[in-house]
């Protein structure tokens, strides 16, 4: 009989960018992932994407539910059935929430990895009464969305297709990371668009930029204030838009005057004339974008820096215009997750218990409630959960409560598609927090250090095993199709299934009426009068026709209905309504370097894929990047192992000496652990090289308004050491041609 072969359209979820491509299956197994057959999408594929068969068919993929039999973190398990696992989890969660209150239940998740939750996690938590949902989006894109709403009520998307100028604040899209953005930037440059890069390193994007400002890490807010100084002083702003559609201009101008270029040059280390040249290029481009960047999300002045990006867009007339940045709003043909989450059903009393609500409210329910009325007026629904990030608990506040039980105990912690232990600042505190739990559940495709600390580990599904229609979490205005091409392992579940089954076991079944993922997709697509089967037979992508300057009809979704250059919400909360730069706690003789962490490497997404042989070969060991002059001073050469210490913690990694680094800076990659050390080192070496060990989250290191930790420029020192004994597979040869593994994946 001929082998059966199928090809389907997929959206890759190996990283967060969501490339549209095709998955092939042969005899029930994913055999290849290849580029899309539409020319507009065909270049959007990277080597992580083509490695998908090796990931999804990997021999270490979790396929059976596991129940802990040893001490927590000992990594000893018994296999149990999915039904037994869900029965026990439901009973234990019910007992804990009854004893300590529903707010004692916290969830940490990554929508990128789980994709098809459809906000059922928030729905479940809201009906149960817990506001304590956290995610990596608190440090990456979700928080940017929330802070953008303070200025003009939505999170805009850059129109790279028509823009004349692209400003990259530390962001470095390249061939194998953020690939579609990289391709769009290349296309824009080919049309003649200018690129301005602000980065301490000579990054890939900086090498080809029209202007590269090598600012000191963590000084983005000061740089933006300098740009505004030039733009205001030279009259380069859109006077009519500012007059008609902005409030707080006079106060902002006064604040900006506190930042003459000499001061900004001194803070950022960039010459004043270069700052002025860049500001003019941006303001005079007649269509310019500052695309989202993870760099600004993770700084001491993050709220101000994100607000300053939004203010620059507005005052230069780049908001909701072609070639600028457009406010998309909710899909008109697909029910958004904001509605499915049932945020309106969580009581005001429980919302007020959200951890972070009092101290760092910018992305919590506290601000969401303040923006409810204008959001409903402009966008048609009161809760806009853009990129999942607009009504979250604060991660640091949650971990502190898990350790200290102050202001109340948090005793049940679920991690779905999220290696929480390595994903937030202050890893030792997260570890203590997890050791103080009565119930931990992990839902994963591979065993991770976080899952090793769980009571139950449930095997998850992957994108080739499920149907989906992606709407970019209400950030983009397109719908894209992802089709199942193979069946998941028999005992694996999607996060949709997990939350539905848990809800039915806990008396919430009436609120979870959907019988399958396709049933849920039918429901969501019903707003456009279609079923999933109809959508999937009709198209693989649907673009909403753009509308520009919608604010002329509706105003902006802010309390004033205008762009708030001085934020009334921040003012009402007792914060400075105007953006400012907060100086970094300085380097010292003991810690002379500026360390920046959270950096993504091409072969991996966050803490994942270190166990995938073909990807690990490309980067077998973690690298600390430093400048030649610094390496010489420290007596280090390429390939040495070094100990990097900060006041918070110590890690070891291999030295990579680069001329492209800025002298005085050390760059640390994000999320390193050693899956190969499972059974040999505690939690598979989770504390050896993880950047989360280095990052502090004490109050002096938190942004005031959001409470995000500072990852971009904290003091550190480096010294030569020896390679840790346990770490042995540190060259490409060690990961070469693991025939048994790759044969398993391909068979």
């Amino acid at each position: 009989m001929a082998a059966t072969k199928e090809t389907k359209y997929s959206i890759c979820t190996v990283c967060d960018i969501g490339c549209q491509l095709r998955s092939e299956a042969q005899d029930g197994k994913v055999s290849r992932v290849i580029a899309h057959d539409n020319p507009a999408l065909a270049a959007n594929i990277c080597y992580k994407g083509t490695a998908v068969p090796l990931i999804h068919n990997h021999k270490d993929r979790l396929t059976k539910p596991l129940k802990r039999v040893g001490e927590r973190g000992e990594d000893r398990w018994e296999e149990i059935s999915y039904e037994q696992a869900m029965d026990e989890i439901a009973a234990k969660l019910a007992a804990i929430t009854q004893k300590y209150g529903p707010e004692s239940f916290a969830v940490s998740t990554s929508g990128w990895n789980t994709q098809t939750t459809h906000s059922l996690d928030r729905r479940f938590m809201n009906l149960l009464g817990s506001p304590n949902w956290i995610s990596g989006v608190a440090l990456c894109a979700g928080n940017t969305a929330a802070v953008n709403r303070l200025t003009y009520g939505w999170f805009p998307m850059g129109d790279l297709g028509s823009t004349n100028c692209i400003v990259l604040f530390g962001h470095n899209p390249r061939k194998h990371s953020w690939t579609p953005i990289y391709n769009a930037i290349r296309a824009a440059k080919a049309r003649g668009a200018k690129v301005i890069v602000l980065d301490p390193r000579v990054s890939d994007q900086a090498e080809g930029a029209d202007l590269h400002l090598r600012l000191k890490a963590g000084t983005d807010a000061a740089m933006c204030l300098g740009w505004l100084k030039v733009i205001f002083d030279e009259g380069l702003y859109d006077e009519a838009f500012v007059r008609d559609w902005c409030v707080g201009f006079a106060e902002l101008k006064q604040r900006v005057d506190e930042y003459p270029l000499e001061r900004v040059a001194q803070i950022t280390g960039v010459p004043a004339e270069d700052i002025a040249t860049a500001a003019r290029m941006y303001a005079q481009a007649d269509g310019a974008v500052i695309p989202w960047t993870p760099i600004t999300d993770q700084q001491l002045s993050s709220t101000s820096a994100i607000r300053l990006h939004s203010i620059l867009r507005a005052v230069t007339g780049n908001l909701d215009v072609v070639g600028g940045e457009t406010l998309g709003g909710f899909s008109q043909t697909y029910i958004p997750e904001s509605e499915i989450g049932l945020h309106e059903r969580l009581s005001p009393q429980q919302k007020a218990k959200q951890l972070g609500y009092d101290d760092h409210p910018a992305f919590t329910y506290r601000v969401a409630e303040m923006l409810k009325e204008p959001t409903e007026k402009v966008w048609g629904f009161p809760y806009a959960d853009i990129v999942m990030g607009c009504q979250m608990a604060n991660p640091t506040s949650v971990f502190r409560a898990m350790v200290s039980e102050d202001p109340y105990p948090v005793k049940a912690f679920f991690c779905l598609g999220n290696n929480a232990l390595l994903s937030y600042a202050n890893q030792h505190q997260i570890h203590q927090a997890m050791l103080n739990q009565e119930l931990i559940v992990a839902h994963e495709i591979f065993m991770t250090p976080t899952a090793m600390l769980a009571d139950y580990v449930l095997p998850g599904d992957v994108f080739t095993e499920r149907n989906h229609v992606a709407d970019g979490w209400s950030w983009t205005t397109r719908l894209a199709l992802s089709q199942k091409v193979v069946e998941p392992p028999a005992e694996a579940s999607s996060t949709f299934q997990f939350w539905t089954d848990l809800a039915h076991r806990m008396g919430l079944g009436d609120e979870f009426p959907w019988t399958s993922l396709e049933d849920m997709l039918d429901y969501r697509l019903s707003r456009g009068g279609r079923t999933f089967a109809e959508f999937a037979s009709e198209t693989f992508m649907e673009l909403a026709p753009p509308k520009f300057r919608k604010y002329r009809d509706t105003g902006f979704a802010t309390p004033s209905g205008k762009v708030e250059l001085a934020s009334s919400v921040l003012g009402d909360l007792g914060f400075d309504p105007l953006p400012y730069y907060r100086a970094l706690p300085g380097q010292s003789e003991e810690y002379p370097y500026l360390v920046f962490t959270g950096v993504r490497e091409d072969p991996f997404f966050q803490t994942g894929q270190r166990n995938i042989e073909s990807l690990r070969r490309r980067m077998p060991a973690p690298s600390l990047y430093l400048h030649t002059s610094d390496a010489e001073r420290e007596g280090l050469i390429d390939g040495d192992w070094a100990k990097l210490s900060t006041p918070q913690g110590v890690v070891v990694a291999q030295i990579a000496v680069h001329e492209t680094m800025k002298a005085g800076h050390i760059r640390v990659p994000h999320g390193w652990w050693y899956p190969e050390l499972r059974g040999e080192a505690s939690l598979a070496g989770a504390f050896i090289s993880s950047d989360a060990v280095l990052c502090a989250d004490s109050d002096e290191w938190l942004d005031h308004e959001q409470g995000v930790p500072h990852f971009k420029g904290f003091p550190g020192k480096v010294e030569k050491t020896t390679k840790p004994e346990q770490v042995t597979r540190t060259t490409a040869a060690h990961w070469q041609a693991d025939q048994a593994v790759e044969a398993h994946a391909e068979s």
């Binding site: 009989m1 215009v321 909403a544």
Partner: protein
């Protein structure tokens, strides 16, 4: 904004609007032709 810039914006806005419609039609057409190709292929028995 100068008159020239204003005209350029109008042009780009129209282009973006038309592009979305044409792209949606192109995607649908591609799906239809793929379905037609598959249904014309001999089926395994």
């Amino acid at each position: 904004m100068t008159k020239r810039a204003s005209l350029r914006h109008r042009y780009l806005e129209c282009k973006a609007y038309v592009f979305a419609h044409l792209a949606n039609r192109m995607f649908k057409k591609q799906m239809r032709s793929k379905a037609a190709t598959v249904s014309a292929m001999p089926q395994d028995t």
